[in-house]
Symmetry: C2
Subunit: 489 residues, 2 copies
């Protein structure tokens, strides 16, 4: 299957016309059939048992001899929702990807090395480690596609800059010649200006200053563009096969000693170091992105379809209230003020609700992610996609800068985890499990992941799933990675 996917991406990126694209071939679509993550190696019987919404068994890797541990002894655990959708709409991926330098336009795409770590650095390429969670909505299609392909899009983006990234001692060259895609310019220390570019005369210098860009920002740009490519690929799939829905995406890339955490949606990554919690991502929701959304609605009011107002009000307004003063805020405001209500203000607010109930156009509760190209406001022809962004925020953690202990980890979780357990509670639970295991026990990160899923799902009691403090447990799909940092600097 991986080969088919690879070929598909290669052709896609190579610019092959859509008529001959494998995406139009029905059998290739099989590659996107629903299943639980391949690295769980589930039997048919296990898969069936895992889908039981009433017992909600927790799935893990690594505790069974038949199953391989994940790279870095990463722990993983997941559980299905309590009945809100038939399928578990979360998906997970972990890969070791070898990035081969692009030699000519018709080369094959990046190779997924899986457990073959011997290829890569030693030859002309690079290698990155990759973990990702995708939290689907309105179906699992987008999450399944992204779990199987996003790392290959990242690989594709990195292929153009293999030489630049390998030459870490010199700043990346501002320009390259585009001779059949081959990187021909080095960027030698003594020659910051390359090729036939002429240095400015004095009078021009104000306009010809040169900005120095670090390698780190090239990797960030590659990941951002990979998300965009992934989103465009989902769009093509959706229009040709009618798939629906979208997904939040949280991806971690370990490349050349740095960890890049890319987040588009409401999943979350935290670092636990020496017992402290350090956030590695922000959530993108109607509340956190309110001003961006309102600004777009203000600048392009036709996107509101005459049904919505870009202004925010603290509640719906009734017709009889026209002429009264009511609290509101515009796209540029953080504070609130009173305005006299006019007829136009009776439209539904573009951004409305609080916390987990906040929605864009009364429809969707996350504002970044992949897919959702067909998403419309209920019973209308108003598209929501223009308000959503597929671009992640990428944070960089320079692993080599810190000494990590055996209990230092990164925890990735979908909102099923974070909705009911705080960063601090997660850290305390992880530390408790890890410190109770021998440091050389390779299963201890899996046990920590399992504990987090158990802790956020809770126990089935008479009144539903309950946490140890009797609060309501998460009825959502829950997926967790626990990635150890010790020994990876």
């Amino acid at each position: 299957m991986i080969n088919r996917v690879k070929a598909a991406v290669a052709q896609l990126v190579g610019g092959t016309g859509s008529s001959s694209s494998p995406w139009n071939c029905p059998e290739c679509s099989l590659a996107f059939q629903y299943s639980r993550p391949a690295f769980l190696h589930l039997s048919a019987e296990e898969s069936e048992r895992a889908a039981d919404h009433s017992t909600r068994p927790i799935l893990v890797t690594g505790q069974d001899r038949r199953r391989q541990l994940l790279p870095w002894d990463t722990g993983y655990a997941e559980v299905i929702n309590a009945g809100k959708s038939v399928l578990n709409e979360d998906q997970a991926a972990r890969e070791i990807v070898s990035v081969e330098k692009r030699v000519c336009k018709n080369s094959t795409a990046g190779k997924t090395a899986k457990d073959d770590v011997s290829v890569g650095k030693e030859r002309d390429g690079l290698q990155f480690h990759y973990w990702a969670l995708f939290d689907g909505h309105a179906g699992a299609d987008a999450a399944v596609m992204a779990a199987r392909l996003l790392h290959l899009h990242i690989c594709e983006q990195l292929r153009d800059i293999v030489d630049v990234l390998r030459d870490g001692d010199v700043p990346p060259p501002i320009s390259l010649t585009s001779n059949a895609g081959v990187v021909t310019e080095g960027g030698a220390k003594s020659a910051p200006h390359q090729g036939d570019w002429e240095p400015p005369t004095d009078s021009e210098s104000r306009f010809l200053l040169e900005k120095e860009i670090s390698h780190e920002y090239l990797v960030i740009g590659a990941i951002e563009n990979a998300f965009r490519q992934m989103d465009q690929q989902i769009e093509r799939e959706q229009s040709s096969h009618g798939y629906l829905g979208g997904c939040c995406a949280l991806a971690v890339v370990y490349l050349l000693g740095k960890i890049y955490v890319a987040n588009a949606g409401d999943s979350r990554a935290i670092l636990i170091r020496s017992g402290e919690t350090i956030p590695l991502s922000n959530e993108f929701t109607p509340e956190s992105e309110r001003q961006r959304l309102q600004y777009l609605g203000y600048l392009q009011p036709h996107l509101l379809g005459n049904e919505f107002t870009h202004l925010e009000f603290p509640r719906r307004i009734q017709h009889r209230e026209i002429g009264r003063k009511m609290l509101f805020r515009d796209y540029s405001m953080t504070g609130w003020a009173y305005k006299t209500i006019e007829k136009d203000d009776l439209k539904f607010p573009l951004v409305y609700g609080e916390g987990k109930k906040a929605r864009v156009m009364a429809t969707i509760g996350v504002t970044r992610g992949l897919g959702d190209h067909n998403l419309k406001v209920y019973c209308s022809n108003i598209h929501i996609k223009p308000f959503l962004s597929c671009i992640p925020e990428v944070k960089v953690y320079d692993v080599a800068k810190y000494e990590h202990g055996v209990d230092d980890v990164i925890v990735l979780g979908t909102d099923g985890l974070w909705d009911v357990v705080s960063d601090r509670e997660v850290a305390d639970a992880v530390i408790r499990i890890l410190s109770n295991c021998e440091p050389d026990n390779p299963n201890r990160f899996t046990m920590a992941a399992e504990d987090l899923v158990m802790r956020s799902r809770g126990i089935l009691k008479e009144h539903g799933w309950r946490l140890s403090n009797d609060r309501l447990g998460s009825g959502d799909d829950i997926s967790v990675f626990v990635i150890p940092l010790y020994g990876h600097t």
Copy 2:
């Protein structure tokens, strides 16, 4: 003069038509004639001496018996630039403002109490303390206007919510009746829904949730709207009297136990508490607001006038480079990637340059502030104002939450200060001066302000103004407030 200004604002806010507006009366414009801040009480001779670009004498308040200390013993010092403009384009203001509840549409506007602190709280109103710095560019007009009027606009905005703010125990009501501007609804604890609004039925409840808004956010909204009103007033002035230029604005409001720091531009406020520095503002520059600017250029390309591209490149591109790959970033990107250069990419980047040299449309180095309504790209008809924002970012410091020592202060400075001295250096200098004075010396904050201006201006040597470490001193106008916090909780 203050009376004339007050009357002007009253008529303005009262909606009087422009034909009878005092802004159209030539003598009223005298109110905006250039001078140094009134609270300095300069004689004509002193004013003349202060304008000497070669000696750059430092002006202060409070060290002379003729001069009154500023409220809270605030220290203030300023110095003119080293010749970059004829006038000192910085302006400063400090006021104690009594906010009277608006009773009917034709009432007079807020009263500037100056030193008469007896009015206010005791009656039906509120009182706020106010300090502000305005850093003008392309002339001093906008800075002069803002220094004389912004606090009155804040007063006007607050007048509508006096009752709401005074009733601090109950959340602000979502809606008010607009009966001749009188606030008629309380918002009693037992009745969160006011007036004739009907609570939702169960089926409606999803759409009729009510958001609770704090008093703090009402003050923030009032300040934001005051900045907008001030900007619109400058626009009217500029179109009728041909004034040019704009200014950055940094204003501090102390109201009901909280300090609100509103910043639009590149001035800066920091808190020095127990020797630690805590930033109270962010700077708004082409670099810090790049993505907002690029997003607007992308959504409304006509604003770029066919001369600029919303894409960012690390340097200008030459015609011969078409077809090569060059680093770029789009509005949604934080990282950089290579793109093949097309003809359209030869346009000048909307945002270009680094640090203090970064510019919007090769023209202006700040992206928020007041004025600039007539600002165009050199030799073109392309307006820059659409890319600038007059809305400040407002940060809140809850003074009552902390115990303040006698050396705890807020420092406000224009970029003339911060360009050459770091936050840490400012804090160290302030602490050194303050700890060397008796705590009951009312002049010690003035001495600290004077020291900061001296430190950033430097000493005139053969090779120009030099700091103690022989680095270049600031050739810009420099203005500094040092506001003590002890005893004001």
